[in-house]
């Protein structure tokens, strides 16, 4: 906010005496910059000291913090909430589900009460609600055949956070020139555009930041990638691996496009990007695969519970550092309570209620579900997580392995994410073979 308010637009991504890029310089696309400008103007009216150039760095006041929290809250209410209502209405009107009226309310509650999003946006402080909200609205527009609106909204989402690019393969066919409007100040010269790009893809950071449940981080316990290969080659590995794993689902969607398939491709492409091979992933990106899963909540509610549990668990070290343990417990409890609401979908016996699955697909899915969600398996995993939570809070690791507990947590979460990816790939495979036959 300080930078966008006090410095002319063309200098926002450029290193200068006023704009010291190494002090938390802008590393999101231009829409975030514009949004920061608006919020900065709001803050300036009430607490100008909190965004004054230079002097506000490290400045913290009660009013400043309160106003900033309110900017996130207002963005959430103005963008995310309406988007969620839109998509739930579209989803249910499209007969993608045969549910009761209660289910609409339950579905909305499941998406809005997603504890990961609440804790990250309102506890840790971020603006994921804007890009996720725009993405949701774009998905809804796409599902209701309003392609232009969908592409506009997705471009906006992409320009708010480049993390939304995880959905890009799915939206590939909808990208339009709206992109260029947002980039207007930076398209004046090649140098300016490159400056923005280099801020967005910070390759000077390592292959992973903080402890993240993804492939590189997990396997680095065995194979010290950073020591073996240079950053350049690792970057290429990451890109290649990501694209390769994404390719099958993209091809599938091109050959046999469907609305339901679109949602699953969103899920798969973001899941691959996050958990498997994407370069320079931040732990908060788990929000992205979680998003399409919440949209499919009425069908795959067991998977939702499973993924949410391990997503929360993987964020626990971060939240513990932020002193958000109480909020963590309370929001997770709230999620569980609404999930198991009396009269809600999870209380009923029948699992998948979709019409367009054939008999073999149903059997296949039930087989997978019966293994993956067997009460003993889930109970065991739940118990492990509980024990680890307690250990993490109460005990201190040895000096030799200061990040032992983080590593263990991350290992468990990663294994679950991989299993989850495999499960949905299997579902996809069964579905494709079904369509072909």
């Amino acid at each position: 906010m300080e930078i966008t308010l006090n410095i002319p637009a063309k200098d926002w991504y450029r290193n200068s005496t006023f704009n010291d890029l190494s002090y938390w310089g802008l590393d999101y696309p231009p829409l975030t910059a514009y949004q920061s400008y608006i919020h900065g103007a709001f803050l300036k009216t009430f607490d100008p000291d909190s965004i004054a150039l230079f002097t506000s760095r490290g400045y913290e006041s009660y009013l400043g913090k309160l106003l900033m929290r309110w900017t996130v809250l207002s963005s959430d209410v103005l963008i995310f909430f309406p988007a969620v209502l839109y998509i739930v209405l579209v989803y249910c009107s499209m007969q993608l589900c045969i549910g009761q009226n209660n289910d609409v309310a339950w579905h909305v509650a499941m998406i809005l009460l997603n504890p990961c999003l609440i804790l990250i946006d309102h506890g840790d402080f971020q603006y994921n609600c804007i890009s996720l909200g725009l993405t949701i609205a774009a998905i809804a527009a796409a599902l209701s055949q309003k392609d232009l609106v969908a592409s506009v909204l997705y471009c906006l989402a992409l320009n708010q956070k480049q993390m939304s690019a995880y959905f890009a393969p799915a939206f590939f066919s909808y990208l339009l020139g709206t992109f260029s409007v947002a980039w207007w100040p930076y398209l004046q010269s090649k140098e300016a555009a490159l400056a923005v790009l280099s801020r967005l893809a910070p390759f000077e950071r390592g292959i992973f930041e903080d402890y993240v449940a993804n492939f590189w981080c997990t396997s680095s316990m065995l194979v010290k990638w950073k020591k073996l290969y240079s950053t350049q080659s690792l970057r290429i590995f990451g890109l290649a691996a990501t694209l390769l794993t994404c390719l099958p689902s993209m091809v599938q969607q091109v050959l046999a496009p469907s609305s339901k398939g679109f949602l699953y491709v969103l899920l798969n492409s973001s899941q691959h990007h996050f958990s498997s091979f994407k370069y320079a992933v931040h732990g908060k990106s788990i929000l992205l695969p979680l998003l399409p899963l919440t949209l499919l909540a009425l069908e795959v509610h067991q998977s939702l519970l499973w993924l949410t549990h391990f997503a929360m668990f993987s964020m626990f070290p971060l939240l513990h550092r932020d002193k958000l343990v109480l909020a963590y417990i309370a929001l997770y409890a709230l999620f569980l309570l609404v999930y198991f609401a009396p009269g809600g979908p999870s209380g009923r016996r029948n699992g998948s209620k979709t019409r367009d699955h054939s008999q073999t697909t149903k059997i296949g899915m039930e087989f997978i579900s019966s293994i993956a969600f067997h009460p003993l398996v889930m109970g065991f995993l739940g118990l492990c997580s509980l024990v680890l939570h307690v250990i993490y809070i109460t005990m201190h690791p040895t000096n030799k392995y200061p990040f032992l507990f983080e590593a263990v947590i991350m290992l468990i979460c990663f294994s679950q994410f991989v299993l989850f990816t495999l499960q949905f790939k299997a579902v996809d495979a069964i579905e494709t073979s079904n369509i072909k036959s």
Partner: protein, 531 residues
Amino acid sequence: MKLQESPRSPASITQLLWFFGIATVVKLLLIPAYYSTDLEVHRHWLAITHSLPLGQWYYDETSEWTLDYPPFFAYFERFLSFFAPLIDPWIVHLHHGLSYKADSSIYFQRISVIVSDLFLQYGVHISTRNLASLKRNLVWVFVIWSPGLLIVDHLHFQYNGFLFGWLLLSISFLAQGRDLMGGFMFAVLLCFKHLFAVAAPVYFVYLLRHYCRGGLVRGFARLSVLGAIVVAVFAAAYGPFVYHGQIQQVIRRMFPFGRGLCHAYWAPNFWVFYIVLDKGIAFLLRKFGFDIPSPVASFTGGLVGDASPFAVLPRITPMTTFIMVLLALSPCLFKTWRYPRPRLIARSVAYAYTCGFLFGWHIHEKASLHISIPLALVAVESLEDSKHYFLLSVVSCYSLFPLIYEAQEYPIKVLLLLLLLHTILMWFCFSALFPKIIGTKGSLQSDKKATQSDSKGISRTAAEKQWFELGWVAKSYLLGVVVVETWGQFLHPYLLGDKLPFLPLMLISMYCAIGISYSWIWQLKRIIILS
């Protein structure tokens, strides 16, 4: 939730626990939020009851927050103070614990309120055992998720939850005809918090007429039994203090004189109108040239000799307010004397608290909870009741807003408590209970035994609308709430800056007082009509 099962089945217990779970999660999230000096007050009482012998509880002056609740509440604090030292011994230290603001202390106290709310659950469960599942769920929503209770107990910090559970139990015993138990529970409640004594006349008259009947001898015998029980309860509470000869000090602490007619923030009761009228007349008379001296005393300070805080109108003393409360209560007492019906007891108790609220001395706005919680039990009985409850609940919740005045709780107050959740929830609930079915009288007389007046009332309104919808007066009043709030929060600082700083609060008081006065008259009418 449209499950149809018998009220005593395990599924209904699960549902009740689900309601409790959701409420608990919200309360947990509110632990780090604003708390008032009442947190320190109760912490100090933990310290007093833990560290000092019984004989010194009501004499201690270590801090300004002296014990001013009856002995059972002191015993309750003593019970809590068994657990406090396990968490952190300094919570109960008499001197070092003063203004102790460590996390351990705050968490301990907040969680103790949350746990004590279990008793509220129990009280609501027993009270609603015999209702149909939809109505039962509605009452649970109104009581367990009551925003007023959340503001007072879990933000401002008090222990009203379990006390209301006790009150609801007492009322439900009376409604079931178990008069002795009901009377006993009420006596116990009085020894927890003497504020509940406003309903004592109603209890007395009702029990006298309903329980002590059947001839002179039998009646007198029953009266003796009742009296013996009440005396026994009071003996258990005050006995030790009588033994130490401290009863005068206890009474003095419980009823501190030297407080003014109004609290610092005027509770929305009748005296607000009286004060404003007084100031208005004084202003007019001065304009016309009369010499009206400005009053020396203030409304919030104590009684200073003969000085009156009123410029023109007669002075009000505690005795005046006492008489006025009794006068307002008399129609209800008269009605109870003539027709002591168990079914009307909840209404009568709520009416008693309404009169006490409107005409009492030094009333806190928190006392509006005493009106809305008992009335929640009868809010689902008929369309008229539900419309009235909707209005009352919004007004009483709004009147509690000034308690939480810090900026960071503002979105919680407005969005979570009042606007989004409570109002919309109530609207959906009542619309579900009274759906838009035109012309069918029968659907409104669900599964309760219809009494004479009920069917009379409904046949009168058969020609009118029978679904849940507010009239234009009610709607404009509720809109006015939004206007008052917008003025107070946004327009006033913008237009008038620092001038007239008391104006927004005064506006809130007056506006809510209108609503509560309407509720008073409506309740009176309802009690007189129903028999």
